[in-house]
Amino acid sequence: MSKDLSKECVVATLAAQGVATESARAQNYASALSLVLKAAAPAYAQIAFEEEPAGFVAEQRRNAP
């Protein structure tokens, strides 16, 4: 199981992009993002090595009537 994002990590990541964030906000972002990242993670295990983002449009066309 991966670890949660910390608020320190969020503060530093945003600061590196020029956005200053207060501690309470950063904690909220870290908590919310950790939940979403964890919820998505099991599905990532199904992705084949060769899969790429453009495969979605190809799949759309393949499944069109």
Binding site: N28, A32, F56, R61
Partner: protein, 471 residues
């Protein structure tokens, strides 16, 4: 015809009445302008009304009709649109403080196509700030109010479009759907809408939120109107590289085909988790209607959708944060607290997690088509699983409770965006409190026609879409 009688017509009906010279374009426009001003006072749905140019265009359209020149199937039909479709040189607020006075660089392809079809735009409508909110709240222009009960939410982000169509103040309106923003207001306001297949309608000149998920589509009083408007909007566009080049089917013509033999899937999982009993009952009743029309209702097992919704959230958040990065650095104070918080959060998403979410889409679509859409023509589901909340109940600034509320609101609509599927939303009844209940019909990629055909058949057999709120 009286203004009330004109406003009681659908877009298709008023276009026909104009063609047959039973209604003038000027009379239709005057009726819409007056009605919009009246209902705006209660619903806060209008951002700007363009009375003079709209009336001038209506006069011109009448002269064209008099000499037998018809621009297209929407000749003279008044429409107002979500304030995120650009007209060159004119400001589109996008529901924000930041761009409310910025002249648009180019006209949206969607507006060009509606213009070419003869529709006349007479105003722009309220929306969630940068289309990043599913409830209809807007802290810059004021919260939009539901025509069925002004204390309740309209749904968003196409909030003004939903409530103005419901209030008979515009014959139809453009919305956009990235996580449910057409289907949610269609549900909450009791109107019809279509989120087309991703790539079916050009996004050029429409405010971007998430380039992988954004779709452009109409809200209207009937599914038939949605089919007509999609017919006008759909098709390739050199200005949008994601726009499909495939031929546009005859959506309107396909409506005439019966739905007997169509297979409609009722999901065994996910869509009915914690569903309000009144909403579940309305869904069941609508399935009975489809059965009576000759469709077969099939229970279907779904793949695990929860992780897909999470991946969709990562895509929207990361892409929206990229669009807004410059303003988050230079003008953070000009965002509402809620929207700023959600955008800033996207800056912290690891790049590989975002890319994995994009890579997952093909896997998910393949699985959904193989497991579900190979067995049924449509998936039928509720749009929302809870009763319409009040504006006050959902008026939250920021923090964990916002994340929970927003996630709950879009839980049933986000799968359609992640999978890029076409989805029609239409009214399926009302709660005991008198609020509309919507259903959504999801079809295979590029089979928008199937969802429209089923929705239209339902409306021919029922009266729900004919009810109008007493605004």
């Amino acid at each position: 015809m009286t203004p009330e009688a004109i406003l009681g017509l659908s877009a298709l009906e008023v276009a026909k009445a104009i063609r047959e010279k039973r209604v003038t374009c000027v009379a239709a426009m005057e009726a819409a302008l007056a009605r919009m001003k009246l209902v705006h006072a209660r619903l806060n749905c209008l951002v700007r009304s363009d009375d003079e140019p709209a009336l001038a265009a209506a006069h011109l359209a009448d002269k064209e009709i008099a000499r037998g020149a018809l621009r297209g199937p929407l000749h003279g039909v008044p429409m107002a649109h979500k304030d995120m479709y650009y007209r060159r040189g004119i400001a589109s607020s996008c529901g924000s403080k930041i761009v409310r006075e910025r002249p648009a660089p180019a006209t949206a392809t969607a507006l060009e196509r509606l213009d070419a079809a003869g529709s006349i735009q007479f105003g722009v409508l309220n929306m969630a700030e940068f289309a990043f909110g599913p409830t209809g709240h807007n802290w810059h222009f004021g919260h939009c109010r539901n025509a069925w009960d002004p204390s309740r939410v309209t749904g968003g982000s196409s909030s003004g479009s939903g409530t103005a169509v419901a209030a008979r103040a515009t014959f139809a309106a453009l919305g956009s759907d990235t996580g449910g923003s057409i289907r949610l207001p269609a549900h909450f306001c009791g109107v019809s809408g279509i989120k087309p297949t991703y790539g079916r309608v050009s996004r050029a000149g429409a405010m971007p939120l998430s380039f992988s998920l954004d779709t452009v589509g109409p809200l209207a009083r009937t599914v038939e109107d949605c089919a007509l408007i999609l017919q006008v909007l759909a098709g390739p566009d050199a200005r949008d590289a994601t726009c499909e080049s495939r031929a546009v089917p005859d959506y309107v013509g396909a409506l005439a085909r019966p739905i007997a033999g169509m297979r409609i899937g009722r999901p065994r999982q996910f869509f009915y988790d914690d569903c309000d009993p009144e909403i579940a009952a309305a869904m069941q009743a609508s399935l009975e209607t489809f059965r009576k029309l000759g469709a077969t209702v099939v229970d279907v097992d779904l793949p695990d959708i929860g992780p897909w919704n999470a991946a969709g959230t990562l895509i929207i958040s990361a892409e929206a944060a990229a669009y807004h990065g410059n303003w988050l650095r230079t003008r953070p104070q000009d965002y509402s607290d809620q929207v700023r918080g959600r955008l800033e959060q996207g800056l912290a998403i690891p790049a590989t997690s975002y890319l994995d979410a994009l890579r997952l889409r093909a896997v998910a679509l393949r699985e959904f088509c193989d497991q579900v859409l190979s067995k049924v023509d449509l998936v039928h589901a509720p749009v929302v699983s809870f009763q319409t909340p009040t504006i006050a109940e959902t008026d939250l600034d920021a923090g964990p409770e916002v994340v929970a509320m927003l996630g709950r609101t879009t839980r049933l609509t986000r799968p359609g965006n992640f999978l890029g599927l076409p989805a029609v939303s239409l009214n399926a009844g009302f709660t005991k409190a008198g609020m509309p209940i919507g259903m959504q019909l999801l079809a295979r990629p590029h089979d928008d026609a199937a969802a429209l055909r089923a929705g239209h058949a339902f409306q021919r057999a029922t009266e729900w879409h004919k009810r109008a709120p007493a605004v």
